[in-house]
Symmetry: C2
Subunit: 149 residues, 2 copies
Amino acid sequence: MLSKEDVFKEYLESKKLKFTAERQAILDRVFANHKHFEADELLVDLRLNDLKISKATIYRTLSLLVKSGLLREVIFGERHAHYEHVYGHEHHDHLVCNGCGKIIEFVEYRIEKLQDEVCRENNFKAESHRLQIQGLCEDCMKKSNDTTK
Amino acid sequence: MLSKEDVFKEYLESKKLKFTAERQAILDRVFANHKHFEADELLVDLRLNDLKISKATIYRTLSLLVKSGLLREVIFGERHAHYEHVYGHEHHDHLVCNGCGKIIEFVEYRIEKLQDEVCRENNFKAESHRLQIQGLCEDCMKKSNDTTK
DNA sequence: ATGGGTGCAAATGCTTTGCAAGTAC
DNA sequence: GTACTTGCAAAGCATTTGCACCCAT
């Protein structure tokens, strides 16, 4: 199986783009740590590792990582992007807590199958999908029911 | 059954807010025409009807319409909001064509049921959800297969 | 009369872009 | 050598906000 680097390098080559030190560093940090992250969090993480890469380059590289299929952009209702790993992770969907912002991932194969069915019915060729359920997690539910609050 | 106006007025009253001419006009135009629309499209529509309402007021009123439950905000992967009617429409999800931008609505009760099941398993209380499938519609699929292109 | 509402223009926050200088191949 | 890259600062865009004046209740 191809490593992340191989996947990225192959993509870059196919587009006649270059594998620079900045792209290397971003790739490393993106997959070193977090699962979900935002552009700014990546910037901080790079700084903490003494990597001085400009915001512009971060945005440009994230876009390439998405196009190469290593990352996916997720939008959680806010107006800025979050990213998550595609490489090495099964496709999943999200429960987003409106109370504390916690994100719970889940996999439900039967939903995917019904989606395929819907696509067939509408002569639609799916390329990607996102399902997200907003509400309250267990803890926040308890808090909001707590009459002593 | 309560009319849209009644729903809106009730919401405003409950928050000690006022039912102004601007809010009236926006409510009317929002439900006169479109289903899906963006803030800017609403602005144009208001101008075409000789209603000179500022952008600020449009944004402030849309937010109130969402809170009152008459509208829902949908984010189609772009970085700006779309709105759709809740009042008078069954809950549905979307197929979004990456080729031409067309939006196909669908209702699939079995998916909703599986979502409820997922929430139960995770002790999660759903408040809303959004499911969207991106891909190519029939027409765009034909175009991309067209070898004469 | 008065607390909320409006328009305007400026501010915001995330993201993109133009440009001059640097670098991978 | 030459096309692609980078950082910087400026621009872009959708949306929000501060403020002085206005108006529904």
